[in-house]
């Protein structure tokens, strides 16, 4: 076991009685440090305290205090996805960004916004909508999800196909490092190549390099969404669904959403969404129908775009995992799921975007069968340069490592972690490769 790190909590030998929590209370105010409840657990591991700093200065000071005291810290936003990643190797303190929830600057004429990490995505989008703008992203549970949370987990939905991932929308970040340094990178202009791109490095890092306290984004106009139209097609099999996706992608259409839905007990469907001027949308629908002549049009409800989030409904006994494949291999991924699930007679559902990113839900009475299916699926996907991130698994499956292989650049990732967080204070053990 590595020096200074114990898997059971209390890094650097700190114990409950030795920790000078009063020092933390002095930093953030006594009413903002509280004992924990069941809901504060992170992947089944209980912290000892929760602190809710008022601003980034307090947050950085609290982090520095914890780092000096040898405590392990998990940053938390809305708490929806706190369980994503491996269980923490150690956990003492949850640093909540709940009170860092201001919109700092909405420069609407410049199509940019600067917002604190704890702001709820839904609140931010409503404010931006007053000027007909939005951050072109549709994360899970936007009413609870925070800016810092969606960035740290790199959550993306149907809009990614057209507008890119959060990495492509973020233009600036402020990070609180474990030693209390507050570091800014990027800025509030869309185009900027001055220095290393830390906003991208922090995006998807699961809070293991620093706590995001503030971020700046480029915005997109909402106006186009007004005339939105959705077409749904039923495909004979996943092969046809994948063919339709590839053909739509190869067309000159400018769709803003394209996804396949498949499940163990129904035929696959493909949804495509167009936005823009009324004339433009109409013309695009005509073209799309021609391309889709080999399948059957079945509907035009916009509710299909909630499909990814619906995978999470009543999912306590299910596993949920995100896969990544080449766009032409979506059908192959579905077949791989079918094969993996078939061995244990598991129920499965898939929602895959045209980008090749998808989510799979696996359900069954025997958790070990789910575990076997996840491992088999990951092995098959990784053979084809894909990946499988297991976000949730039912209790009792034994743990499938969450991320899968980080590849031959893992030593560099480890050195990056060592540089940013030499004491392993932030979310220890939770990230890829056990970082």
């Amino acid at each position: 076991m590595a020096a200074g790190h114990s898997a059971t909590g209390g890094g650097a030998g700190a114990t409950l009685t030795e920790v000078a929590w009063d020092e933390l209370r002095a930093i953030v105010g006594p009413e903002h440090v509280r004992a924990v409840g069941l809901e504060d657990q992170v992947a089944g591991v209980a912290p000892r305290m929760v602190a809710e700093p008022a601003d980034e200065t307090q947050l950085a000071a609290a982090l520095r205090w914890a780092n000096d005291a040898g405590l392990a810290v998990a940053p938390r936003g809305g708490g929806n996805k706190t369980g994503w990643g491996n269980p923490p190797a150690r956990l003492d303190l949850i640093l909540s960004t709940d009170r860092l929830n201001a919109i700092v600057e909405h420069a609407w004429a410049d199509l940019t916004v600067v917002v604190q990490a704890g702001a709820r995505v839904g609140d931010v989008q409503r404010e931006l909508a007053k000027h007909g703008q939005y951050i072109a992203t549709d994360p899970l549970w936007p009413e609870r999800a925070t800016i810092g949370g969606i960035l740290s987990t790199n959550d993306s939905g149907t809009l990614r196909l057209r507008y890119g991932a959060l990495r492509d929308l973020i233009i600036g970040v402020t990070l609180a490092l474990a030693d209390g340094t507050l570091a800014r990178s990027g800025g509030k202009v869309v185009k900027n190549v001055a220095g290393y791109d830390l906003p991208k490095l922090a995006t998807g890092a699961l809070g293991t390099l620093g706590v995001i306290t503030q971020a700046a984004f480029r915005l997109h106009p909402l106006s186009a969404a007004g005339n939105g139209r959705t077409l749904t097609f039923r495909a004979g099999g996943v092969g046809d669904a994948n063919r339709l996706i590839v053909e739509l992608q190869a067309s000159a259409l400018a769709h803003t959403g394209l996804q396949a839905r498949a499940r163990h007990d129904a035929q696959a469907e493909v949804d495509v969404r167009f936005e823009g001027t009324a004339a433009g949308v109409e013309a695009q629908c005509v073209t799309a129908r021609k391309i889709a002549a080999f399948v059957v049009e079945t509907g035009n409800s916009t509710e299909v775009w909630q499909a990814r989030q619906e995978l999470w409904t009543q999912a306590e006994t299910a596993a949920l995992a995100k896969f990544s494949v080449l766009p032409t291999r979506i059908a192959a991924a579905c077949e791989a799921v079918r094969r993996a699930a078939g061995k244990g007679d598991l129920k499965w559902r898939i929602v895959a975007q045209g980008t090749g990113l998808g989510w799979v839900r696996l359900e069954g009475v025997r958790p070990e069968e789910i575990r076997e299916a996840l491992l088999a699926l990951r092995a098959e996907l990784e053979r084809e340069a894909g990946s499988l991130f297991v976000a949730q698994q039912p209790v009792g499956t034994g743990t499938v490592e969450a991320w899968g292989s980080p590849g031959d650049a893992f030593p560099v990732m480890l050195r990056v972690k060592q540089q940013f967080d030499p004491r392993g204070t932030l979310n220890p053990g939770r990230f890829a490769g056990g970082i």
Partner: protein, 482 residues
């Protein structure tokens, strides 16, 4: 340089792959920023990733600093050699290795020319979106280093948006693969931090690019205004109307004159010229183009032309793309600057540039990517007039300070390089810069890869940083997976 080491390089690349005679080395003493010059010890021209790796291993063993170089068109001195160091040219690594259009992926070697990627996929209706003005000569490896942009970033993003994976030889000679053909590879977004690192984190040996389907319709409108202020108001109107054009470019009178003198683009002689390009489905473009027309008219446009053919569209662009070089027609010497401001600060910053220009007695021609606030002031001077070069450099830096004061950046697409590293301290605080350099320490603790660029001062990394030890989970995790 030690003859033994030269011999070792020669054994790796062959006789054709090494340059060490002084007269030949002069070709490599600068990049597109010609007022900085350093003669390297040698230039090696590897033909493969394996050769790059072998060369870097020698450099690491001997502690020889190296600078990777693509086509040498960079405008911030990023490929400026370092004394006592070598240049690794990727010019001979110029193969397109793989084209997978159903997945819109193209795999290239770093020496492939930007426009050649588009050339390869154009017959199937695809293009490679990042389009720096130098795209007919600049290399993908250089684009990766600089995170190059171009006129169409407003809609399509930058190099970093279109790079999915990179094969890199690290400064210690290890070869690693960052990202990959599929999205969201497990772990940190290392392609995200490598792109735009200006050659300071290692040498690119392969790049997985994403190409884009050509839109059904592309329309370009040219509008003439009395002043850049009016043209700027039109830009604001377009943005406020909820449009994201593929490009919005602005030129002032001096740059119009220069472009006319050089390439005869038949631009109207006016105070502010706008090029607005819309692309997408035909019906969509037609509806939006009507709106753009209205907005331009409402802002006092004296003339509006819409390109009626691909040829005419090319002529519209020719003047803009040639603007930097064209300035050579009206001034013996000039500095190309690359500041960024929030677009709404444009009138204020323009007025201030005019004032500074008048005060210094030095002319400034202005070319902008107006949609995203990226200014390219061209500071004109005559080296033969004593003191003018210095005054021009001062003015250029003062303009960058204006950009910082307006909440912008000192570089939108050219990079910091050698030229602007002292400005980094004005844009960022010391902790900001120290934090960025943590990345440097993770990739290149000995600071061999393009040392002394980007940052005003190097950070001392130390061979064994920090106290972090890998957690047992990680070892267990790796053991399980590999």
């Amino acid at each position: 340089m030690d003859a033994r080491i030269l011999q070792e390089f020669r054994a790796i690349t062959g006789d054709r792959g090494i340059i060490s005679s002084a007269e030949q080395l002069h070709t490599y003493e600068c990049d597109g920023l010609t007022n900085f010059r350093v003669l390297p010890q040698a230039v090696v021209l590897p033909e493969s990733a394996e050769q790059v790796q072998a060369i870097v291993r020698v450099c690491h063993r001997e502690r020889i600093p190296f600078v990777a170089r693509g086509s040498g068109t960079g405008l911030s001195g990023g490929a400026l050699p370092v004394e006592n160091g070598i240049v690794i040219s990727t010019a001979r690594m110029n193969r397109i290795l793989e084209v997978d259009l159903p997945n819109a992926r193209v795999v290239v070697e770093p020496g492939v020319i930007n426009l050649d990627v588009t050339g390869r996929v154009a017959p199937q209706g695809f293009f490679y979106a990042p389009d720096p003005s130098s795209q007919s000569v600049c290399s993908i490896g250089g684009n990766v280093a600089e995170n190059s942009g171009g006129a169409h970033c407003l809609k399509y993003g930058f190099t970093t948006t279109h790079v999915l994976g990179i094969e890199v030889v690290l400064p210690d000679g290890t070869m690693v693969h960052l990202g990959g053909k599929t999205l969201d590879a497990p772990g940190y977004d290392l392609p995200g931090v490598f792109v735009g690192s200006e050659g300071t984190l290692g040498v690119t040996t392969k790049v997985i690019l994403r190409v884009v389907k050509r839109p059904e319709c592309i329309q370009t409108l040219l509008a003439a205004f009395g002043t850049t202020g009016e043209a700027g108001a039109a830009v604001s109107g377009i943005i406020a109307a909820g449009m994201v054009p593929a490009a919005i470019e602005m030129m002032d009178n001096l740059s119009i004159q220069a472009a006319e003198a050089a390439v005869h683009a038949h631009y109207p002689d006016c105070g502010g010229l706008l090029l607005v390009e819309l692309d997408g489905p035909t019906a969509e473009v037609a509806a939006l183009m009507e709106k753009v027309n209205e907005i331009c008219n409402g802002c006092g446009a004296t003339e509006i032309r819409v390109a009626q053919s691909e040829a005419e569209r090319a002529v519209f662009w020719k003047g803009r793309k040639a603007a930097f070089a064209a300035v050579g027609r009206i001034s013996p010497n000039y500095i190309v600057q690359d500041g960024v401001i929030p677009r709404t600060a444009l009138p204020r910053v323009m007025t201030e540039i005019e004032r500074l220009s008048a005060a210094a007695g030095i002319k400034v021609a202005n070319v902008f990517h107006a949609g995203d606030g990226n200014l390219h002031p061209l500071v004109l001077y005559d080296r033969r007039i004593p003191g003018q070069e210095h005054a021009a450099e001062e003015l250029a830096m003062r303009i960058l300070e204006l950009c910082i004061e307006a909440g912008g950046s000192i570089t939108g697409e050219h990079g910091v390089g050698e030229e602007k590293k002292q400005m980094m301290g004005k844009m960022y605080s010391e902790p900001d810069l120290e934090t960025m350099q943590l990345v440097r320490c993770a990739f290149d603790p000995l600071q061999l890869s393009n040392p002394s660029k980007v940052f005003p001062r190097p950070r001392l990394c130390g061979e064994k940083p920090g106290r972090y030890e890998p957690h047992p989970l990680e070892i267990a995790g790796i053991a399980e997976r590999f």
